[in-house]
């Protein structure tokens, strides 16, 4: 079976295109159902004959691989997936009956017909980065991986194996974690650009029973909220059907006031009452100044503070230095606006804060920002009240119960060093702990111990404390998922063994030893999810839209196959995914076959008469019981004075301004040469992180890598709307197309990252991630000494200089 011909990446792509040509053509011209009016709900029919349309159920994968947020109904005509809509049975978006999808969801068909699909396993025959591969069989590929992992386990210990986590990824969080535990490695390389960062900060400041249930500043009953502060929160971009813009718009119509704190006045932000265009990366200064005003002007809730806050006096003394006058010079905001916002937050009740990725995990002082935001919410007495933070209605129990996949956490070995230091099992063997080793335990982690993605990969270069020897990248492109691709390339070259499994050829595949073809979410039928509501409970499982393309396989099945090859079969259902599924569904009383036959899922109406009920308000004894003294940590005695994640010093007690690695006020000398600030939106409504620039419907709307720039600034540099610009930071340079945009400060540029995928259908190229490419990740600081000391968040802001890029082919 093994092919002897050698493929360069370019040839490979052509080959893949040829393989899928029929499907691609059909996908482009998707013979809409409409014109025949034959959108019959044909059930889960197996065979299709000419002119037949069937509907199938699948979870939309456009907000991430293996996500189960939006249930969709897919229309398949003569075997070709032509159309998609939200499944009205499931309770997406505003509830049952909703058939909404976002722009990405409406383009989903085009993902399975992409010419960038990988269709067979390959092994590298050229140098790393050169992109020369040879086709191999699945058996050979799995044998090479298993043999390597076994040898390395023997030689370097099981902890020498690590996995890249792209974002929350169900395959990795369940089977991947179970595999790590059985193998004996804690090195789950978590991105440190994640909601988890905000969870860590909330947990240690506001408490909560565990990671998943950390107390929040977000209103649980938005209809009762008077003031909502949206702070670096991007719900019109990252996941429109989950971020609930619809609910927010309803609340605005009913009188809710909104303050939007973000560098751009974006889609949903355009409906806010007040826009606060903070300089990217300086939110901590703003948050501390708000605390300064609320405390200094005596706008806080004295009763709450005296009963339920610990260290308030230290906080009050500490924030005296952070005046609005001081913050104005750092944030670029008018002094008066800072006072106004602080006074509104201090005097409007109930008030809630949606603090998003933009502030909590994409700034190198992310913990301090989040801690300060949590404290604003707490000292104003807004925790646990109707319309304030948390305090959502309590939903009746689901009508269906299922079993979660056991992660076999107890199988991760506890070393002598773990015992000696009082660490949870495995924590001594983390090559670069994401949060401090001492902090990682079953209460604080999501699924188990974590190493930080970027720092973990750097272990292969610096060998500190010991290098990872094998890394598995599954649906994650490290060139797009973290910072500084130049350092990542160095790390991948230094790494002994890198294997990749992905639906599409990603730019890191060129550095892999083995590349495996994953089938899409729409070609497997092993993932299910439930949605519970007041009316009842819905459950659905993916149905196969088509058989896996070429030799592509399910990511779930791959883990089982690898486990069997490693000799771990007993812990992995001996490779039988159906057995794994049966185990999960067993308590529901619904069989796998029954669920797979339901092309809109199964809805079980509530028969217990239970209704959503009011929560117990101001239940502070219970809410704060996991915190030291059972109180909100104004001065943090949980983490303060203890070793930081880097083990280079200790963590502070009080939120303190640090700012980005490069900033106008913080590095003013550098700002002489690089006078503008650059950041990016990270998640965007036309892509999934760095993926999907290849999807024609999405790429058509934004063909070129853009930078939003205020016309006033662009004109100063002789840059017209649509011109290519050279954008240089102290760390690298990229080319971007200037897009005139009034709703951004003249000193700031905002971009969208990624762009490594080409779009063949539109004849649009992909762009590189190194100097001269178009991924802004190459512009950012990546010195681990500058990362957040508690949870490893990295700067997503830098200073740049710009010029018109002469001679660029301006197709715009």
């Amino acid at each position: 079976m093994a092919q002897t011909s050698t493929y360069t990446r370019r040839n490979f792509l052509k080959g893949a295109a040829a393989l899928g040509a029929a499907a691609v053509m059909a996908g482009c011209s998707n013979g809409a159902l409409s014109e025949t009016g034959s959108a019959a709900s044909g059930g889960n029919s197996q065979a299709t004959t000419a002119g037949t349309t069937v509907t199938k159920h699948a979870f939309c994968q456009m907000c991430g691989p293996a996500r189960t947020h939006c249930s969709t109904t897919c229309y398949i005509k003569d075997g070709v997936w032509t159309n998609v809509e939200g499944n009205p049975e499931a309770g997406n978006n505003w509830g049952r009956g909703s058939r909404t999808l976002c722009a990405k969801g409406n383009s989903a068909m085009q993902t399975i017909y992409s010419p960038l699909r990988i269709t067979y396993p390959m092994k590298r025959v050229g140098e790393k980065g050169e992109g020369k591969f040879e086709r191999c069989t699945w058996d050979e590929a799995i044998n090479i991986i298993a043999t390597t992992l076994k040898e390395q386990k023997e030689k370097y210990g099981p902890e020498s194996y690590g996995v890249l986590s792209p974002q929350f990824y169900a395959v990795l969080a369940t089977l991947g974690r179970r595999f790590l535990n059985v193998h004996g490695s804690p090195n789950y390389l978590h991105s440190a650009i994640c909601n988890s960062q905000r969870v860590f900060s909330r947990l240690v400041t506001l408490g909560g029973p565990d990671h998943d249930r950390a107390n929040s500043t977000v209103p649980g009953q938005l209809g009762k909220t008077k003031l909502l502060v949206v702070w670096g929160y991007n719900s019109e971009n990252s996941a429109i059907n989950q971020g609930n813009p619809n609910g927010r718009l309803n609340a605005i119509e009913a009188g809710l006031k909104v303050i939007d704190i973000r560098p751009m006045r974006n889609g949903l932000g355009a409906h806010a009452d007040i826009w606060v265009p903070v300089r990217p990366g300086t939110d901590c200064a703003l948050a501390l100044a708000i605390l300064n005003v609320i405390i200094g002007e005596d706008l806080y809730d004295h009763e709450f503070v005296s009963n339920w806050c610990s260290g308030f006096d230290e906080l009050a003394a500490h924030v005296q230095q952070y005046t609005p006058e001081w913050a104005s010079g750092i944030t670029g905001l008018p002094i008066e606006q800072i006072y106004d916002v602080a006074r509104m937050m201090g005097t409007t009740k109930p008030m809630g804060i949606m603090a998003g990725n933009g502030v909590g995990d994409q700034q190198n002082d992310g913990h301090d920002v989040l801690a300060a935001i949590c404290l604003i919410e707490a000292i104003t007495g807004n925790i646990g009240i109707a319309g304030g933070a948390g305090a959502g209605m309590v939903m009746p129990k689901p009508m269906i119960s299922t079993e979660e996949i056991d992660l076999l956490t107890e199988r991760l070995p506890k070393s002598a060093e773990d015992i000696q230091n009082g660490y949870s099992a495995g924590c001594s063997n983390l090559v670069a702990p994401e949060v401090p080793r001492w902090f990682q335990d079953e209460i604080t982690w999501e699924t188990g111990p974590t190493t930080a993605y970027f720092k973990g990969l750097m272990s292969t270069i610096d060998g500190n404390p010991k290098p990872l020897r094998a890394v598995f990248g599954q649906s994650s492109n490290p060139f797009g998922a973290t910072r500084q691709p130049k350092k990542i390339a160095e790390a991948l070259k230094a790494l002994d063994f890198y294997f990749v499994m992905d639906v599409y050829w990603n730019s890191s595949c060129d550095y892999a030893d083995i590349v495996l073809p994953a089938c899409s979410n729409y070609e497997t039928d092993v993932q299910f999810a439930m949605k519970n509501s007041a009316d009842g409970t819905w459950i659905g499982i993916n149905q196969k839209i088509q058989e896996p393309l070429g030799e592509s396989r399910s990511d779930w099945q791959f883990y089982l196959d690898l486990a069997v090859a490693m000799g771990y079969g007993d812990d992995f259902w001996n490779g039988d995914m159906e057995a794994c599924l049966r185990e999960q569904l067993e308590p529901s009383g619904i069989s796998v076959e029954e669920l797979r036959a339901a092309d809109h899922g199964i809805f079980i109406e509530r028969s217990d008469g239970a209704k959503p009920s009011e929560p117990k308000y101001q239940d502070y004894e219970n809410l704060f019981k996991t915190l030291p003294d059972g109180k909100v940590q104004c001065s943090n005695s949980w983490i303060g004075g203890k070793p930081n994640a880097q083990e280079t010093g200790t963590l502070g007690f009080l939120p303190t301004y640090k700012g980005p690695a490069e900033s106008i006020a913080g590095t003013s000398e550098l700002a002489q040469e690089y006078p503008l600030i650059l950041s990016d939106v990270h998640a965007y409504r036309l892509c999934e992180h760095s993926y999907y620039a290849d999807v024609p419907y999405l790429r058509e709307l934004q063909p070129y890598p853009w930078a939003k720039i205020n016309p006033q600034t662009a004109k100063k540099y002789g840059i017209e709307n649509g011109d290519w610009m050279k954008v240089e930071s102290p760390h690298g340079w990229v080319k971007l197309v200037a897009e005139y945009f009034e709703a951004i400060s003249p000193e700031t540029l905002m971009c969208r990252r990624g762009w490594w995928q080409e779009c063949a259908e539109l004849g649009l190229e992909g762009y590189g991630c190194f100097d001269g490419g178009s991924d802004v990740s190459v512009l950012y600081d990546s010195d681990p000494a500058n990362f957040d000391q508690f949870h490893s968040a990295m700067s997503k802001q830098t200073l740049v200089k710009i010029s018109k890029l002469e001679g660029a082919d301006n197709g715009n």
């Binding site: 011209s29 999808l101 976002c102 205020n710 006033q712």
Partner: protein, 175 residues
């Protein structure tokens, strides 16, 4: 005049420019990427930084009371339906001469695959009572409505909205 004119109500207070309407229209009407768009999201900005307003308006054919495209069409391919007032193109009759595009003040009819193309209010997709156009169904924020023009007028009025201006008398209300 149609006995029961249908039309759109576009609520700009709920539009966040997510483009879901633009793409759903393409997938359901079999329109390839890189060709035409029957629906688009217009943006109007006011002021300068930092006092900027942005308003997003999702628009397609206005299905006007006095459609400029119908009166100029030399073959009678573009017509206004008596029963619901929708303006449609009969592609069997259309010769792709683009004259209708010159008669439309809103740049609606577009040349596509040798014929003129435009929104038909999802006429062929709405096969049963209560069916709505695809853009309305998919909108995550309920910014779009479609139905009897009097109902659209009433919904718009609640938000201080008005009928869209134009010499051709568009069947669209905007708030």
């Amino acid at each position: 005049m149609a006995t029961e004119q249908l039309g759109f109500y576009v609520d700009t207070t709920r539009c966040i420019k997510c483009w879901a309407c633009v793409i759903t229209c393409k997938q359901w009407h079999d329109i390839k990427a890189g060709t035409i768009s029957r629906r688009r999201v217009d943006e109007t900005n006011g002021g300068t930084f930092p006092n900027v307003t942005r308003t997003f308006t999702s628009l397609s054919c206005m299905h006007c009371a006095n459609p400029g495209c119908v009166s100029v069409c030399p073959t009678g391919a573009v017509s206004k339906r008596a029963e619901d007032g929708l303006v449609v193109v009969d592609k069997e009759v259309c010769i792709g001469c683009k004259t209708c595009a010159t008669g439309c003040p809103f740049d609606v009819p577009q040349y596509f695959e040798m014929k003129m193309d435009k929104c038909d209010g999802c006429l062929t997709l709405r096969t049963k009572e209560g069916d709505e156009p695809r853009c309305v169904i998919t909108c995550p924020c309920k910014a779009l409505s479609f139905g009897k023009l009097d109902d659209m007028k009433e919904a718009a009025a609640k938000k201080g909205g008005n009928k869209k201006d134009g010499s051709t008398v568009p069947s669209v209300y905007i708030s």
